[in-house]
Amino acid sequence: MLSRTADHLFWMSRYTERAENTARMLDINYQTSLLPQSAAVAQVGWEGLLVISELLPTYTAKYGKDITPRNVMDFMVRDESNPSSICSCLRAARENARAVRGALTTELWETQNATWLKLAGYLKTKEFERDPGAFFEWVKHRSHLSRGVAVGTMLQDEAFHFYRMGSFLERADNTARLLDVKFHAVQSDFFGAASAQDQEYDFYHWSAILRSVSGFEVYRKVYRDVITPERVAELLILRPDMPRSLAASLNEVVSNLAVVANDTSGETLRRAGKLKADLQYARIDEILSTGLHAFLTQFLDRVNELGGRISQDFLVPTVH
């Protein structure tokens, strides 16, 4: 297929996934802000959200040092100058879809377009301010729908594989960032031993992380025990059956990448496979003994590099 078409499909799914994950994080911060907690803890939550997306400097440049829930939500939802806001992500997803609408099934294109049209309505009527929770639900729901429509209607050809690759590469990135910030928030690095500070982050902190990746019930089902940070990390990093974990995301990236392989992509596939194997054969206590932050930083670098190589090999190739 046309490289440019593959590129648009790849980014269409990445932006849709990114919008979903931003909605998930905003939602969880918003929900926990409704719980009794110290102002300092709440502040850490909102700040963490900006740190995850590497947007703290942009935010403070625009809104000042004061990090208020209202401003952060405004910045992360409707601010068009912020390329990571939900509004910007959904616009980019729709623009990418429009650029290749002929390569999408009618149902998938209409889903993307309807999302964009409805979003404009949401932002115009202030419906979002009245009930942020319902809005975040809606964003998640549209992402689920878009994914479901793609899986349910698209021919499983190259287009489909690039679409899927984009989703899971983005998800690997987003879940890793979430983990890094939420654990990093606990102390300078997390080595698995509960410190005094950990006590302050109780059940609600850890369950919030799980809920933000739809992992609360999953955790209960898998561990049938109290929530501990080590297990939260294990679930979200290593469990291949947990759909939003790093391991599950990498499995999908590798299997889709293997199908579309071309003459130049051998090295990319090898590196993706190696990253996948590193997760497959890792143990959580090992990871924690060298430090979670160090592990995640390295993981993010490797995912980022993978994205660059996929671009180079398939999406914006330099031929001649």
Binding site: L2, S3, R4, T5, R98, E110, A120, P317, V319
Partner: protein, 479 residues
């Protein structure tokens, strides 16, 4: 000033024409609120499907973008089968002659030698492409997709008569609206199609693909066809994407193509792939920066060289503009006689040419009664509709024409036929035209009907979407 009118549906205020009887009876039974709901439904669907076009330099009221809907009217334009049969014959004849003419212009120029078209009309014409001299194109076909604009106006007896207003032989657009309008009508009013024998149009993309494959270079048995678009910000982008999808071929942009060893390739995820036929929706000027406009990024460097060697087919061919130019239009009836030895089946509109002193005098003296058009203009820009203009506007245009007479032609203001149309105040007659899409490959063929455009402003004769026109479904009623 009152002009004779011809309405497609109503012969007199109380009498409906025979081919509209069925429909009129049905329409009378529809409660207004149901029709209003259908109009809203249509708009919502068009918006969701994204059947939009961009207006150059325009912004939506809320500033959110430039995507507009083309208004769709619920009342179809109906043509009886016997009228269509004649029109179809006339179109085949006309497009055949035009293709012969373009071939002749770029080869032996017999028509100039015969003194039928003056040499300077060709060689001084900005649409003449010397790069095409002596280039042979597959099957001798230049205009593979022709959008011939036809209007109807009352003659002295008050009968409606068809006239060809212009031949669009470069990159005519609008066919996607023909197809989407039909789809919409069938979705909104399925019962109507059970009661009326409406000729189907949905096979247009198949015919188009067949046409494009038929003119592929001889070097390949399994041609790769692509649609070349300027990109998603072009006003007709929806149509480009739509046609590529319906034909199951790639929609490419200039940046996706490159030339190597005298062949054209596209960049794919599996490496370069050769391209054999390019259905381009990019104007000549932008096709190849090495030959035409050097700053263009919409085309592909070296494309014309490959084309001239016969290793790729460009549809429509480069240089077809020489035949649909308004200054050449008056010669088309003579072309038909010259190349085919036949009498023209379709009428031309009587045309005055600014380059002829007698015609010019008439134009200047009667400008307030005439439609004056710039010979290279398109899309309803650069024209004057005398009777609809103020004195000052007429004066202004008179000066413009006097300064460059050869750049203008004039025609009597035809009172285009009207068709009942939904407007704010209810249903009222509005002026319409018709653009059938004629395909030339191995043979010349078309789907029955075409795109009916309607001028929504009261009294307006300008149907272009860029000037506030809408569209209607077009029915050829089978006997």
């Amino acid at each position: 000033m009152s002009r004779p009118m011809f309405d497609e549906m109503n012969a007199t205020p109380t009498e409906v024409r025979a081919h509209y009887e069925n429909y009129a009876r049905w329409l009378a039974q529809q409660p207004p609120e149901v029709m209003a709901a259908r109009r809203e439904e249509a708009e919502m669907i068009f918006r969701r499907v994204g059947i939009t076009f961009a207006v150059y330099g325009a912004k939506d009221e809320d500033g959110s973008g430039t995507e507009r809907l083309i208004p769709f009217d619920l009342i179809p334009r109906i043509i009886p089968a016997h009228e269509w049969r004649t029109m179809e014959e006339g179109l085949v004849q006309r497009v055949n002659a035009l293709n012969r003419f373009i071939h002749d212009v770029y080869h032996d120029q017999e028509i100039i030698k015969a003194g039928i078209v003056p040499a300077d009309q060709i060689f001084q014409n900005a649409q003449f492409r010397p790069e095409m001299m002596g280039v042979d194109v597959p099957g001798g076909v230049y205009s593979h997709i022709s959008g011939v604009d036809i209007v109807r106006a009352p003659n002295a007896q008050g009968e409606g008569e068809y006239y060809v207003l212009e031949d669009n032989l470069r990159v005519p657009s609008g066919v996607s609206y023909m197809l989407e309008d039909r789809k919409m009508m069938m979705r909104l009013f399925p019962d109507l199609f059970g009661q009326n024998r409406v000729a189907p149009v949905a096979h247009y993309p198949d015919l188009l693909l067949e046409t494009l494959r038929a003119v592929s270079p001889a070097t390949t048995a399994e041609p790769t066809v692509v649609v070349l678009t300027p990109g998603m910000y072009n006003s007709a982008y929806f149509e480009h994407a739509f046609l590529a999808q319906q034909m199951g071929v790639e929609l490419v942009e200039g940046q996706d193509l490159f030339v190597k060893d005298n062949f054209v390739y596209m960049r794919t995820t599996k490496g370069p792939k050769r391209v054999d036929v390019i259905y381009r929706r990019v104007d000549d000027d932008f096709l190849d920066p090495l030959v035409f406009r050097p700053t263009s990024t919409l085309g592909c460097a070296g494309l014309l060289g490959v084309y001239r060697s016969g290793n790729v087919t460009i549809c429509n061919a480069v240089g077809t503009g020489i035949a649909d130019d308004k200054s050449i239009y008056p010669y088309v009836p003579k072309m038909i006689e010259f190349y085919l030895g036949q009498k023209p089946i379709l009428n031309n509109v009587p045309t005055f040419m600014g380059r002829n002193p007698d015609d010019l005098k008439y134009m200047l003296d009667n400008m307030a009664e005439l439609v004056v058009k710039e010979v290279h203009g398109a899309g309803g820009y650069g024209m004057l509709v005398g009777p609809a203009s103020t004195k000052a506007e007429v004066e202004e245009f008179r000066a413009v024409v006097r300064a460059k007479p050869e750049g203008y032609i004039a025609q009597p203001t035809l009172s285009l036929s009207t068709c009942p149309t939904y407007v704010e105040s209810g249903v009222a007659p509005r002026h319409i035209d018709l653009r059938p899409f004629v395909l030339s490959g191995k043979e010349v063929q078309m789907v029955p009907g075409g795109l009916t455009r309607v001028a929504l402003k009261e009294g307006s004769l300008v149907v272009n979407s860029s000037q506030g026109g809408g569209t209607k479904d077009t029915w050829i009623l089978e006997d």
